[in-house]
């Protein structure tokens, strides 16, 4: 059968073979979905030209002969009306299965898609694809070589850039969220750049990852200039300009402040970073608290993790709570780890005190009181920390929570960080402007902001 002899296979068979019907909410068929690539195609009432065009593009020009060849192989044929039937009158479901085997076995695209999805979403090393045991498991999806799949992954990521660029173009205005990261042991500093925008269709706040790259600078510098270069190249990749960008959101460090000033785009300091610093400041301000915490940390992190002590502790806690508990260690950078450590301490306090070897390291009565007192406060801070980390948390609500906290006498010291005009806030005017807009003084300010945005 030559590929040029069109219409030798009835349209209905083409549709049944290469496509699955898609139904709308009322159960009425609205379109056809290609089994091979997942694209949805509309079809006219009785014509199948649209579907034929897609099949020829997706499967190849020989789609009709491919179809007939496959049907012959599985013992099926097409009758005059275009129904696909089995030669030995197998039930419909089996016929459908036989048809679908065309897509699953001979379809390179679907195979590549399935493999890439598995490798990426399950965090698999690429070498897994050449592993004999994996290959044995995935017999239906003939694997690729590492080199090939690698090429496909890079090419796909290239195309994703275009898809995201289109969506951002429709969204118009966006914010850039950025932060740096170094994997323990790997000496490369990565910078992640997200875009926050209002979804053009649903109108909800959405975030999309734009880049996760090491700084471009050849000397490995991580200063504002290197960040600037990276941001410039990133927004250029998505065909955006500075006019599209409302503000940068990042930690309140000097690099970011400098970057914002050089770039001419305001910086909104990350509220959770600010709050983290404020809590640390508050803890340092409490008389004797840090010493008590330090002592507790020695007890929990080193002494109670000693093999023998940990063993006894497991025994005692199993007896008391029905499960084995171990001491929680604290880490330096986040105060929340202090909270979990203290929480665990009060849970296993009795058991810890029963272990003789730990006695010299246990906290005194006053120290215990101090920690217990602080624990109640930390619980309140924890409430805020968890809350402001929610996706799309707006500035107004954050401000409100901070203000509520500052109203309380005992948290006054935190105003060094939490006050709207605290020293750490670099673009206080911008932030208070946004808050005013949110509070309802909309029209006046947004006109001014539009002007400012246009000029920047």
């Amino acid at each position: 059968m030559s590929p040029t002899s069109t219409s030798s296979v009835p349209g209905k068979a083409i549709a049944d073979f290469f496509f699955t019907p898609v139904q709308d909410d009322n159960g009425k068929q609205k379109s056809w979905q290609c089994k091979k690539c997942g694209t949805e195609k509309l079809s006219q009432k009785e014509g199948y030209t649209n579907l034929r065009c897609h099949a020829s593009a997706c499967v190849g020009k020989s789609y009709e002969s491919d179809l007939l060849e496959h049907l012959k192989k599985v013992g099926c044929f097409v009758d005059k009306k275009g129904n696909i039937l089995s030669e030995d009158r197998k039930p419909k479901a089996l016929v459908q299965q036989a048809i679908n085997s065309f897509v699953t076995t001979s379809n390179t695209e679907l195979r590549a898609f399935t493999w890439i999805r598995w490798l990426a979403c399950r965090n698999m090393p690429l070498s897994e694809i050449e592993n004999d045991i994996t290959r044995d498991l995935a017999k239906a999806y003939r694997p690729f070589s590492i080199k090939t799949i690698r090429k496909y992954i890079l090419a796909t990521s290239n195309l994703v850039v275009d898809a995201i660029a289109q969506e951002l173009e429709r969204a118009g205005f966006l914010t850039l969220l950025l932060d740096g990261w170094t994997a323990d042991g790997a000496s490369t500093h990565y910078i992640a750049i997200f875009a926050g925008y209002k979804h053009p269709d649903s109108g909800n706040y959405s975030e999309v990852l734009l880049a996760m790259q090491p700084t471009l600078d050849e000397d490995g510098a991580m200063d504002a200039a290197a960040h600037e270069e990276l941001l410039d190249s990133t927004i250029a990749m998505y065909k955006l300009t500075k006019a599209n960008i409302l503000c940068i959101i990042g930690d309140n460090c000097n690099t970011n402040k400098c970057l914002a000033r050089q770039w001419g785009i305001p910086l909104v300091g990350c509220a959770s970073h600010r709050f983290n610093l404020a809590v640390k400041h508050w803890m340092e301000d409490q008389p004797g608290l840090m010493d008590a915490i330090k002592k507790l940390s020695t007890l929990m992190s080193t002494k109670a993790c000693n093999l023998r002590a940990a063993h006894t502790l497991r025994h005692l806690t199993l007896h008391a709570y029905g499960k084995e508990l171990r001491a929680q260690q604290m880490n330096e950078t986040r105060w929340t780890s202090i909270f979990t450590m203290v929480e665990r301490y009060f849970r296993i306090k009795e058991q810890l005190e029963k272990i003789k070897a730990l006695l010299p390291y246990c906290l005194s009565v006053t120290e215990n009181l101090r920690v217990r007192d602080a624990f109640e406060h930390l619980a309140v801070f924890k409430l805020i920390t968890v809350e402001i980390q929610a996706k799309g948390m707006d500035l107004g609500h954050c401000r409100k929570q901070f203000d509520t906290l500052l109203e309380c006498e005992s948290y006054q010291v935190m105003s060094d960080y939490l006050h709207p005009r605290a020293e750490i806030v670099d673009f206080a005017d911008f932030e208070s402007g946004i808050l005013k807009i949110m509070a309802g003084a909309l029209e006046k300010h947004s006109v001014q902001w539009k002007l400012k945005l246009a000029s920047s």
Partner: protein, 152 residues
């Protein structure tokens, strides 16, 4: 969730007082204050939820008057936490035994394929497979797994 935490706080109070019977005078006074702050915080977040609901109803009426303006309040997020969440996932890709991975592959895996799942499907892969090698030359040149070797 905040509400639950508050209830927990309340419930813990009597227990905490009962097993610490030395000086609860100053302690309980302090706790009263803490509780009110916690309650206020909870009230605020409940209010916020209500506000969110009403704005969606008002939006249609307001849309006309605010047409052409940017809705800055909803676009600007107060924290850059999404980055932290990303790094949490990145840790599982950049494992100690996968340190040799080239940055460009690392980015591709994390960036498109994991975080931006909604932007690609089988048809994207199909198009990607048709791309010629010379279109990808720049990426392929950078994609070198010995990237970190000199550093280790």
């Amino acid at each position: 969730m905040e509400a639950e935490a508050c209830i927990k706080l309340k419930k813990q109070q009597p227990a905490a007082n009962s097993d610490e019977d030395t000086d609860d005078g100053s302690l309980s006074g302090d706790e009263d204050q803490v509780l009110t702050v916690a309650e206020k915080l909870k009230m605020n977040s409940n209010k916020r939820r209500k506000v969110v609901v009403t704005t969606t109803q008002q939006q249609q009426q307001e849309q006309q008057s605010t047409k052409g303006y940017i809705d800055v309040g909803t676009i600007i997020c107060a924290t850059s936490n999404c980055c932290e969440r990303l790094f949490l996932e990145a840790k599982y890709i950049m494992l100690p035994h996968r340190r040799g991975m080239s940055p460009i592959l690392f980015e591709a895996l994390l960036y498109c394929l994991k975080k931006n799942k909604s932007f690609w499907n089988a048809s994207t892969v199909a198009r990607a497979m048709k791309m010629k090698e010379d279109e990808l030359q720049e990426e392929l040149a950078q994609d070198d797994d010995t990237f970190y070797d000199h550093e280790e």
